[in-house]
């Protein structure tokens, strides 16, 4: 199992140069059945990451570019009257795929956003009074531009909470950039990627995540972290129980990726910025610095 995971990470690493940590985080997110939000500037490789993940994991992949004039039906699908058969037939929207890349989700209107977010939570879609299940597994990788860019609708907190993680890719390292200049073509690499696993293996791996053990000391640390967010005057609001659970799940997936059957505090610390960053709010606004402080203030060993 460890071999497969390493191979997956290595494969994606060939497409997305020098972003191993982010790739692992994305993988951990998918393994713990969460949805991923990538926030970054245009052209940083968000789409590439999503695409590569789909390729390597052998998932059906669709991509939707969100625009401000999009309607929910554009994602979910629509019933169309067919003259030949004289009946309405449901044309599935892009949401009916195993991995959906919702590009620039914050460019669309809240109405459309919420249609997608509902599907993410329920893993099913109701159109024309009929409930249709989405394929298994179902992931959404949404990307969004930083909020200060023009023409964006910020996702409200309740919807941000649906995403297990929020990561950003950041500029490539010097070596990676140099490799790009030297003519390494990520797109060509992307096309060459072969699926390493199939849906069943993925399901099995997701099952393994739940088996990663967490000791008392570790749960204690987690509890103190969560308590701190709830009591610290710096946090406008603390982590919800859903947030705390998400943290535990993501940390388990992270431990699995690193081939451990037990959780270590490092696992929690590794996923904490991505899991808690968009859930916490400080007076100032963003939670990223808050998480940094949180990690420093709460010691791993109970005082």
């Amino acid at each position: 199992m460890q071999k497969i995971i390493s191979a997956i990470v290595a494969d994606i690493g060939r497409v997305l140069l020098g972003k191993e940590h982010q790739v692992k985080l994305a993988l951990a997110c998918l393994l713990s059945r969460g949805h991923l939000l990538i926030e970054d500037l245009p052209g940083m490789g968000k789409t590439t990451l999503a695409h590569a993940l789909a390729q390597v994991l052998g998932l059906t992949y669709k991509r939707v570019q969100f625009t401000s004039d999009m309607l929910p039906a554009d994602i979910l699908g629509v019933s169309i009257f067919e003259r030949d058969s004289g009946q309405f037939r449901f044309h599935e929207g892009p949401v009916f795929s195993q991995l959906l890349l919702a590009d620039e989700i914050n460019r669309s209107s809240p109405k459309t956003q919420s249609a997608l977010l509902e599907a993410m939570e329920e893993r099913q879609v109701s159109v024309d009074g009929e409930t249709r299940p989405l394929p298994e597994p179902f992931f959404v990788i949404a990307t969004q531009n930083p909020l200060h860019q023009s023409g964006t609708f910020a996702l409200p907190e309740s919807q941000l909470d649906r995403f297990l993680m929020r990561i950003s890719l950041g500029y490539p390292t010097r070596e990676a950039e140099r490799a790009l200049f030297l003519g390494v073509d990520p797109r060509a690499q992307l096309r060459q990627l072969k699926p390493r696993i199939d849906g069943n293996t993925l399901k099995k791996m997701q099952g393994l995540v739940g088996q990663v053990k967490a000791s008392e000391s570790l749960l204690d640390y987690l509890e103190r972290l969560v308590q701190h967010t709830r009591q610290s005057p710096e946090c406008a609001m603390g982590l919800s129980p859903r947030g705390a659970l998400a943290l535990l799940h993501a940390a388990r997936a992270w431990a699995l990726i690193h081939g451990r059957s037990h959780l270590l505090p490092e696992d929690i610390q590794a996923v904490l910025p991505s899991v808690a960053g968009h859930r916490l709010q400080s007076e100032g606004g963003d939670g990223a610095q808050l998480v940094e402080r949180l990690m420093r203030q709460v010691d791993i060993i109970a005082a």
């Binding site: 053990k213 000791s215 008392e216 000391s217 570790l218 037990h262 959780l263 270590l264 505090p265 490092e266 610390q269 990690m295 420093r296 203030q297 709460v298 010691d299 791993i300 060993i301 109970a302």
Partner: protein, 661 residues
């Protein structure tokens, strides 16, 4: 206009009014009624401002209010420099402050003033209910102060909670200050309203006086003894001596009262101290009487400051007893004293004085006895036998006419102690024997639990003293001849049917209530003994008892040691409560390791995971790395893999020195 931040929190306004009301409530009974209305009006105006219906009054209105208040005070009180007008002035200024209650500073001013107003309450009353009320006041005022903090601090529970917490924390300090704070004597005498009615035995005796007192079960004296307690028939608490009779009224006569220039020995009569020690030593706590005379047994000497002895063997105080007053007395019963001075000429005449006319039958009867050549004792014996034969003791004697003694002795033959004492002294004087009426209290209820004698107003009594050549003044109680049980068991048994007949409810007949009342009196007695009468003498005594010797060093130790102990206790409590449940063993071991590393110059940062730490150690102090990595691995196994063997290994590793490999 003040800055917004300085304005008082709107919601705290009601708290301020509540505090003012609490502080003023007991004063309302004393103050003129218009001040109450002035306060209510000021509060109303301020509330209208609060609701935005009115503006704060302008300068002209305020000036008018001040003028009205000062005018009102001048009209209500003729005298300025007395206690009541000063308290009223305080209350009025307190009231008017409401008209400019704008900023937080105003609120503080008003509330601090409220503390002061609440404290003036104790000028009038120092009893337990008032003390409890004082505590309530302080709680409310402190809560009102807490309400000024803003941020919803004015919510009742929050404000009261904070107030109670603060006050609870202040209690140890209060007790300490109570014990060690120097007791200053009053810097000036507070002029009190001397017109207020005096209670208890008065300086003259007319028929009916004692009947009035017999209706009251208010405590008059509480007496605790150091040493033997006198038997009931000896418990005569002398307060006044009446030597002057005008045919109806017995009074002290001119020049006896210290206020009229009567001689008082203020510094103890050392020259008179007999060889034999005093038979009785006791301490009397006297309720307020608004009179200067005090009560003691015969031949008293008091060492209490401001108490002196008079020529007629009583003790008096320099000023009237406006509030409870305690004094120490030593008494020598007369029979223990050897030397008797002869009765001076002036004294003899004074004690033989009779009105020019009236009561002819008694005079004739006494003259007859004298002619028969009987001595003083024989005449007295005959008179008492006469009482014993045909008189009845009653609280409701029939009214007497002009020749009151005649009518009593040969007519009605029903009376009360004042009738017996008065007629006895009259008859003795008529027979040529110096005699005088003594008024005070007789008997008292022995409170066994607290060991004191409780004397109530209905124990007021009058009896007689006659001069017997060679033996001096001798007490004769004519009432005892008629109703011995009055002396032995008190008024209640002597006149059971008539006792307190006029009271609305016959409460005194219910044993349970009597016991309850006695309990309450005991509590009051304790309260007075321990709290109110804690003056500089008692303070010295207490400190001496605790410290052995009152020196600055010992005093400082006395204060510092409990404080240090208390602080240490708090520290320990914080230490233990802060730790919560004890740490798991692995965490403790890892902490130990971290402390050791910190000494080695590699402190683990807060929040740094063990593995990251080990990595940093490898980078910064490679020589420590192997050991650190082994310890980290063992710790991880023990703490996160729940491996019991790893804990032992960790223990073992920690026993080794850091750089060993």
């Amino acid at each position: 206009m003040t800055q917004p931040a300085e304005r008082l929190p709107r919601e705290s306004l009601l708290w301020i009014f509540a505090a003012q009301f609490a502080a003023l409530l007991p004063q309302f009974a004393q103050l003129p009624l218009w001040i109450v209305f002035a306060w209510a009006f000021a509060v109303y105006w301020r509330l209208e401002v609060f609701r935005g219906r009115r503006d704060l009054p302008g300068r002209a209105v305020k000036l008018l209010a001040v003028a009205l208040a000062v005018g009102g005070l001048a009209l209500s009180y003729r005298r300025w420099f007395a206690l009541e007008p000063m308290v009223a002035l305080l209350a009025v200024s307190f009231t008017l402050k409401n008209l400019e209650l704008v900023s937080r500073r105003d609120a503080f001013l008003s509330l601090l003033l409220a503390y002061f107003v609440a404290a003036t309450l104790f000028v009038y009353e120092q009893t337990i209910p008032y003390a409890l009320y004082g505590i309530v006041c302080v709680v409310i005022i402190t809560a009102a102060l807490a309400a000024q903090l803003g941020n919803f601090s004015a919510r009742p529970r929050r404000a009261l909670g904070l107030s109670l917490k603060l006050l609870a924390q202040a209690v140890p300090l209060m007790l300490l200050l109570f014990i060690v704070m120097p007791r200053l004597g009053p810097l000036w005498a507070v002029p009190q309203n001397s017109a207020s009615a005096s209670t208890g035995v008065s300086d003259s005796m007319t028929p009916g006086d004692f009947t009035r007192l017999s209706q009251s079960d208010q405590p008059a004296l509480r007496i605790s003894f150091d040493g033997p307690v006198p038997p009931p028939e000896q418990r005569y608490w002398r307060g006044l001596v009446y030597s002057d009779f005008d045919g109806r009224r017995w009074s002290q006569g001119y020049g006896v009262d210290p206020r009229e220039g009567g001689a008082v020995h203020w510094k103890g009569r050392e020259q008179l101290l007999p060889e034999v020690g005093p038979r009785y030593r006791y301490r009397v706590i006297q309720e307020a009487t608004n009179n200067p005379w005090l009560f003691a047994m015969a031949r008293p000497i008091s060492d209490t400051r401001g108490v002196g002895e008079t020529e007629d063997e009583r003790i008096v105080r320099r000023g009237p007893v406006y509030s409870r007053f305690a004094y120490e007395v030593r008494s020598w019963p007369r029979e223990t004293l050897g030397e008797i001075h002869a009765l001076g000429d002036f004294e003899r005449r004074r004690n033989l004085q009779l009105p020019g006319g009236g009561n002819p039958r008694t005079r004739a009867w006494a003259e007859e006895l004298r002619r028969a050549g009987f001595g003083a004792e024989e005449i007295s014996r005959r008179l008492l036998a006469f009482y014993n034969r045909s008189f009845t003791y009653t609280l409701k004697p029939p009214a007497l006419g002009a020749d009151s003694v005649d009518e009593f002795l040969f007519g009605s033959q029903q009376g009360f102690c004042e009738h017996f004492a008065g007629s006895y002294v009259f008859a003795m004087r008529a027979a040529g024997i110096p005699a005088r009426v003594v008024a005070g209290y007789q008997g008292g209820e022995w409170v066994a639990k607290e060991e004191y004698l409780l004397v109530r107003q209905y124990d007021a009594h009058a009896w007689a003293e006659i001069w017997i050549a060679g033996r001096g003044w001798q007490r004769v109680d004519p009432t005892a001849a008629v109703a011995p049980e009055r002396i032995r068991d008190g008024l209640q048994s002597a006149a059971a049917d008539e006792f307190m007949q006029d009271s609305l409810l016959p409460l005194h007949r219910m044993a349970f209530l009597n016991r309850l009342r006695l309990e309450w009196d005991m509590i009051n007695y304790r309260w007075y003994q321990t709290v109110i009468s804690f003056d500089s003498d008692k303070q010295q005594n207490l400190l001496q008892r605790i410290l052995g010797e009152v020196s600055p060093l010992r005093l400082a130790t006395f204060i510092a040691v409990p404080m240090a102990a208390a602080l240490l206790g708090i520290l320990l409590w914080l230490w233990f409560s802060g730790r919560g449940e004890t740490l798991p063993a692995t965490s403790r071991l890892y902490r130990k390791f971290c402390r050791r590393m910190a000494r080695a110059g590699m402190a683990r940062r807060s929040g740094e995971a063990p593995r990251d730490f080990a990595r940093r150690v490898r980078a910064e102090k490679p020589e420590l790395a192997p050991m650190v990595e082994r310890i980290t691995a063992a710790f991880e196994k023990a703490a996160y893999f729940d491996d019991p063997a790893a804990e032992k290994q960790l223990r073992r590793l920690l026993r080794l020195p850091m750089i060993k490999m």
